[in-house]
């Protein structure tokens, strides 16, 4: 009977010892990663105290941020006010008013341009459908992400807020450029 107890005791202490050993091995393995990583250079982005225009934030190319309205190589607006983005938008947040280009005032290269182009960022879900829908690649997702506001009325972006700067030809020159005729 004593022997039997002894045998059982031995078996139990063996289990305890083995689990301690396993735990120590686990911790060692875990800590080895920790210690190894401690010696690597820091990878955390230092937003918002980092350098550059994004203040340290690093964004993937495919990131869908605030929209940009693009211009073509002549500096004219690419958007032709086809309303396809507005039709595609699941949250119905794009508002466009179209107007006709005239010889004196040429805004886009087609017959029509967007006189008003608003996106309501209260509602936009950054799904990118508008970008998919656009036949002229006029609307794209930029990388702007600091969109929070304490005043919801500030969140309706207008064309002027989204249109990229005219870095091609100045508008006047573009309007008379032969390549458009």
């Amino acid at each position: 009977m004593t022997r039997g107890w002894c045998k059982e005791y031995t078996a139990a202490s063996y289990t305890v010892v083995m689990s301690i050993v396993r735990n120590i091995a686990g911790i060692t393995k875990g800590m080895s990663i920790t210690f190894r990583e401690m010696l690597q250079p820091t990878e955390v982005e230092n937003y918002p105290d980092g350098p550059g225009p994004t203040r340290g934030a690093v964004l993937q190319e495919r990131f869908r941020g605030a929209h940009e309205l693009q211009r073509d190589e002549n500096g004219l607006e690419k958007c032709v006010a086809c309303f396809l983005c507005a039709a595609a938008c699941p949250s119905n947040c794009i508002y466009i008013e179209a107007a006709e280009n005239t010889a004196e005032q040429r805004i886009s290269s087609a017959e029509r341009y967007a006189k008003v182009y608003n996106i309501d960022y209260n509602r936009c879900i950054f799904c990118g459908y508008c970008v998919e829908a656009c036949p002229t690649d006029a609307i794209t997702h930029g990388h702007g992400f600091e969109l929070a506001s304490l005043n919801a009325t500030n969140l309706v972006m207008r064309k002027e807020d989204m249109l990229v700067a005219n870095v091609g030809m100045p508008g006047q020159l573009a309007a008379h450029s032969d390549s458009l005729k």
Partner: protein, 780 residues
Amino acid sequence: MADVTFTVDGKKLTAPAGTLLIDACRKAGIEIPAFCYYPGLSLQAACRMCVVRLEKVPKLQTACTTPVAEGMVVTTESDEIKQSRKAILELLLGNHPLDCPVCDAGGECELQDMTFKYGAAESKYVEIKQHREEQQWSPVVFFDRPRCILCYRCVRVCGEGMDVWALGVQNRGVSSVISPNGEDHLDCEECGMCIDICPVGALTSGTYRYKTRPWEMNHVATVCTHCGDGCKTTLGVRSVDDGSEIIRGDNRDKSGMNGDFLCIKGRYAFDFTTREDRITKPLVRQPNGQLAEVSWEQALEHAGMKLREIRDTRGGSAIGVIGSTRTTNEEAYLLQKFARTVLNTNNIDHHRTADYASFAAALQGKAGRTASLRDFLTAPAILLLGNDATEQHPALAWNIRSNVRQNRARLYVANHADIKLHRQAKSFLQIPQDGYAALVQYLAGNEAGFDGTEISAAFREALRKEESLVIAFGSEFRGRDIQSLVDFGLGLPNVKFAALGDYANSRGAADMGLMPDLLPGYVPLAAAKHFGEEYPSLPSAPGLDMLQMFDAAEAGNLGALYVVGSNPVERYGIDPTALKNTFLIVQDMFMTETAAVADVIFPAANLYEKSGTVTNTYGDLQLAKKAADKAGVRTDFELIVRLADKMGADPKKLVPFGRGVRADMGQTRGAQSGEADRHAVWLAANNLEPKLSPFDPFAVFDEIQRLVPSYNVSRFELLGGQDKQTRSDLVQIELDPARRDLVLPANDTLFTSGTLGRYSRMLHSVMESRTTKPAETAAD
């Protein structure tokens, strides 16, 4: 014709022999694509999209030119057919610009739909596409040549449908091009039918081009506000800062009496709604003689107080009311009820353009004798007396032309001028301008007073042989002449009549009793027993008519004049100083000659901005739906009720709203409280109205249907958008033979529309652009 049985895609179909295969298939729900085929126009077989396989025929056949035959076995979809259609599309797209994002047709383009269906999106051509600049052919018609697929629909609708022949084809083969009759511009009726019928975006409309896209608009089917034909027009509206704006008129809803047709006014002349000089604030004349903007409350208070004061001191007979020919029936009815029960006066009139009262008197007790506009599309024979329908009743002219073309209807025309419909007439009789009465006598067999010739004898002979005839007569006929015309007509076997009056609701204004001697439904004042309950204090003496009112004003006997949507100062050439001692209230959209001398001006909504019913000149009752909206204006209905309220009258007596059982706020559907809004939506969707508001026109329509038996048509169908013919036999009147003839025809042309037309820039630009100027007409 006898029916034949044939098989399409394994389905047994039956159709009358001679039916075109494409029509028979469409009727059975089998869609066959077609660019050039258009029902009602001649066959072209130009596009080859409709090809089908007929058993035992070696090549694919065009369904649009093949009549069905007994035992025919047809396949409409197979790989072979698909391939053939795809090839056609590839050819069409060979020089087609990739314009869809800016093209007006994008989203409702038949070429887009077909390309989408058959997947011929890529072009096999490598040559550079030939571009041509867009051309402007008229203020309303633009042509973008590379988009044209040469289906010739426009050529045919303009020639066959409109009988204008302004479009044609130049050159042959691949260099074919659609061109206008004036070399670089169009000289035509500017109806825009070609634009509407173009399956692609080649012909575009000057008023709509590049404004928006079809899916961005709401589409409201309502009734045109211009002439007396009552075309159904679909208005495309979108919201803007100050309400909602109409940007397009078309007839995508072809269920109206006008079918495919709209004239220039129905299609384009809605631009008066957005003019910047439209009055949008109430104006009251100040002690210094100037008009100043005031609040609604002040203006209504001021007008109500003055009216009340004049009524109480000088009596109702010192107040006059002039109604409109463009307001709804409910508004016209309410206006005369307001005049008669609140102002206590029968001094009420409107600008009469046809003698509907004599017409009603002539037809009383005769059932089924009034012709609907639809009847002109099917009648085997038509007699047109007077009136130049092409100019004054364009939809009537369209229906007549279609009937002559498609059913070989026999058209008889008697006119003092050589009108355009002469070209469709089987028989044409030119008579002196004052010869209409004598003509009717002559037709009835009384030769005296008419210089009969062989032509006129043949004319009469042919007419008498007609088994079934509809007679339309212009405002040349009044009083006794109408009676004798009707007497003559009733002597023929099966005759229906139509009196042609000029404005959208001229007929309704007369039917609704905007007359000093007649109540709604042409009930004489003396026979108004059944009006007792609704009209407790009806004055029994006939009031002053339009001209007498102005005479009274001149003599200083008219204390106040209330003018709703009318411009009598201009129309009747009244000297404005005649009104200097009269307190004048005007409800209008613009500063008309009458409004300019008013003491109070209320900015009013037009027919496109309100709901209600209107009656065209043939007596067809239709529902007008609110399409547009303009901040600052109110409907005439609301204004009348508010004015009555300010005068201390009980609005509930004027508009029977909220009567009897309490309104159903959804209980019948087991709805919980708080669902009222959603319930209202449900009611609206089912064309029902909770009559909870004193501004609800349908509460007044209830009363109209109760008191005017001829208007007691099925509301279910009426509110569902159908036109319902009012009945002529239920009218009971005895007209005073000495009744004054006050009919003043508007003599509008295709490009004028009374005062309203003056405020349409589009109509002006079309008129200015024309090389052949239309005849001068009254400026109003």
